[in-house]
Symmetry: C3
Subunit: 329 residues, 3 copies
């Protein structure tokens, strides 16, 4: 079952400005045409996470508008650089389904692909959501659980840009590939308080229409009694905060997994920390770090909160995100 999603979007420098103004992104590679062009791009590119949110937004009316929960991501890839003026469209395919034991809900697995105006695949990812069964009395469909990789193999990414003129000072850090060790944890220190206007503006920028983010009147009757912030807002803010300590790991290459482990509401302050999970060689000039990015709210990220002794996510942990980033050697 293939679903072509509505509303193609031409991304522009206006989107770049708004993304920066809403997230605090400071990576030189996605801020300056000069820096990007010196390091293998054909101009100032769109941040892969911005492209991801735009493609994700298109899927909401068809995939998750009435979903109970957004459960996870896997196998996210960004094979094509996107530039201002490019137009993104999205197509999704249902690749798996499983009824939950309660007989009332189930999990649907979807692969979504984003394309540019030439029909070239710009990004793809799998996500799975919990949905209500249309008719609880109907028999359970045969479970089909897709075979998803634990993480994306960097060797399959065909990363071809040379970071031939990477300037540490302009990029904001002297720490390159060789300076990070597997197992190392990094405290990103700064915090960012999110206002209702900010997450609403960001979520509309991505044309994500999920009503839980916008309708304060309707949300009064909901579980939390108020608007819930789109998880992608948390990903982007945490990623922007990770500039403190990971400034050279500017380019998100692949999403290995991700879970929104707790809700974020307006007025909450997002902090973040990272853990280096793995390292890989990409080319003579570029390596890759596999990073766990954890967002916590209203607490010191230097405590590196993740899970409690019961194995459950600790209070205030909002995001557990696993990705590969390119970094100069």
């Amino acid at each position: 079952m293939e679903i072509r999603h509505a509303t193609p979007l031409t991304v522009t420098t206006g989107d770049i400005s708004l993304y920066r103004a809403l997230t605090g992104s400071r990576h030189a590679l996605f801020s300056a045409a000069t820096f990007a062009e010196a390091n293998g791009y054909d101009g100032l590119p769109i941040d892969p996470l911005l492209a991801f949110h735009v493609v994700f937004g298109k899927t909401v009316p068809d995939i998750s508008l009435n979903a109970v929960a957004n459960l996870g991501y896997a196998d996210g890839r960004f094979p094509l650089a996107i530039y201002p003026g490019d137009t993104l469209t999205a197509i999704s395919e249902v690749i798996g389904i499983k009824e939950n034991s309660n007989g009332k809900t189930g999990v649907v697995y979807v692969r979504t692909r984003g394309f540019n105006q030439d029909g070239l695949e710009a990004l793809s990812y799998v996500r799975w959501v919990m949905v209500n069964k249309r008719d609880a009395a109907s028999p359970a469909p045969e479970a089909q659980i897709p075979d998803l990789p634990d993480n994306v193999d960097p060797a399959t990414l065909n990363f071809s840009r040379a970071y031939s003129a990477w300037d540490n000072t302009l990029a904001g850090s002297a720490h390159r590939f060789g300076d990070y060790e597997i197992g190392e944890k990094i405290n990103h220190v700064d915090g960012m308080t999110v206002e209702e206007a900010e997450h609403q503006i960001a979520t509309r920028l991505y044309q994500n229409t999920a009503k839980v983010h916008f309708d304060a009147h309707g949300q009064k009757a909901s579980r939390f009694g108020k608007r819930l912030i789109y998880g992608g807002v948390v990903i982007s803010i945490a990623r922007a905060l990770s500039f403190n300590g990971l400034a050279n790991a500017a380019e998100l290459l692949a999403i290995n997994g991700g879970t929104h482990t707790g809700p974020l509401f307006a007025g909450d302050t997002v902090y973040a920390w990272s853990e280096v999970l793995d390292k890989a060689e990409l080319s003579d000039s570029v390596g890759a770090l596999r990073l766990r990015l954890v967002a916590v709210k209203d607490q010191d990220p230097g405590a590196f909160a993740l899970r409690g002794e019961d194995g459950k996510y600790a209070p205030g942990v909002c995001l557990d995100f696993d990705y590969w980033a390119a970094i100069p050697k």
Copy 2:
């Protein structure tokens, strides 16, 4: 009496991004250059309502900065597509005047025209506002009430774009011209809560300087005791909400009339419903729907609230807006 207004404005892709991020607009025709070019445009155009707000904003210091109320609109037309890089200017002409029976206030009718950098008329509309008489003791001027059309005749619009490659799936709806019936009411379902920051950012984007929208300190002494949201913000949010059910009626062609029937304040949630008032043929590939767009706040739009038994607008009805939209056949 002709008034040339200050501050010409070059509209850009930055304005397009902000308009989308502030209103939630999702029409493919104003989101994607590819879709627009396949359907008669020369690139990604500016949404006519964005152009309208920009031109309206220019008139505020000269027409309505100290007006008591913005009473209505009529005969709004959009003869020219506007693109990023175009520069808009505005000229207004007072076309009517009438003193109210209290001798203290009066109504002024104004036709405003917006032009592009080549001096071509891009849009025009009539609005009328209630103003205080400068000197209540002065004799009433002779009333001159302009002859305004009840609605714009679509045959006079010279609509020439062919919707030759309209893609229902990308546009977000399978419902075309033939699927709508006169008298049909459409519930747009979703709600949008408006924050102070959002309406202020939008209203400054349009360079509309009316102080009631911005000055919380000064507004404490006003009738409502707080900032009032610019009516154009309500029009654009309601129109964006109308995507649910009217996704193919993307292009606003003409404004027949409009009344801001109640105030909107930050924290209020806007919902909308529409009624098909009339239909007209434009060409082989395009028809027009005359639509009544009603914005209500903090209530179910599926109740289709409009007027009470006393004929007055019902509580919570904020906007009664009458327009023609193009829609593919």
Copy 3:
């Protein structure tokens, strides 16, 4: 000691739109390509204050992230017009140092220069900040106080643009160089209430990362107990408000000095007044006004509050800013 700062930034029309939407700027010269081109520019330029905030933002992690206070500005110059697509970088030089008598803090004087992608100097300014001594027990360094001009000599600005087609009506005022008198005070009347989302979005647009502006959770333990608004936000809003009365003084030429005389918080309403401090000839078609721009909060700017009888800044005075602006003759 020279510091090259991180994150070069390509400024775009997206930044122009956001700057307008966040500040309320209405000067024709920075709003319309047509107006700018008719008056000596090669297209729609970036407002000098936007360029200033961008360059200032780059210096924050290296200069003032942990500063106790931002004490003043001097000798700000804008020798080069900046256009969308230009990339700004920044370099700072420490030009002076002085230990305070308490032995715990000191003042550091820094000259910052901003460059475009061709390495041409686009702007420069001096600012001085109060910082904590790293080790209070260490001996005081020898004081070096730079020789700073009381104000920038307009004759040194090499202003070369002719305002050859200045249109008073489009610019919004009939008052030109000859209409202003030294000593004249101007009430800018309107007020602008600043929301948390607005100042945060603006400050991130400039990639200014000072945590006091963003971290509500962390700020609970601070002196004010809440987020503090970046002083540059106050400068730009006050300058935008000064359109009422100074619409033709569109172009900021030089910053003579500036002090953030009191904090601004979300919910406060900014008002502004100006005083003409001096006048100078620039060319046959252009003069310069030396202006004091004062921002006050939650009070009538027509009272022209500045200092009390004790010589200290009066309550609610937030900004005392001294600059030269070009104005047509």
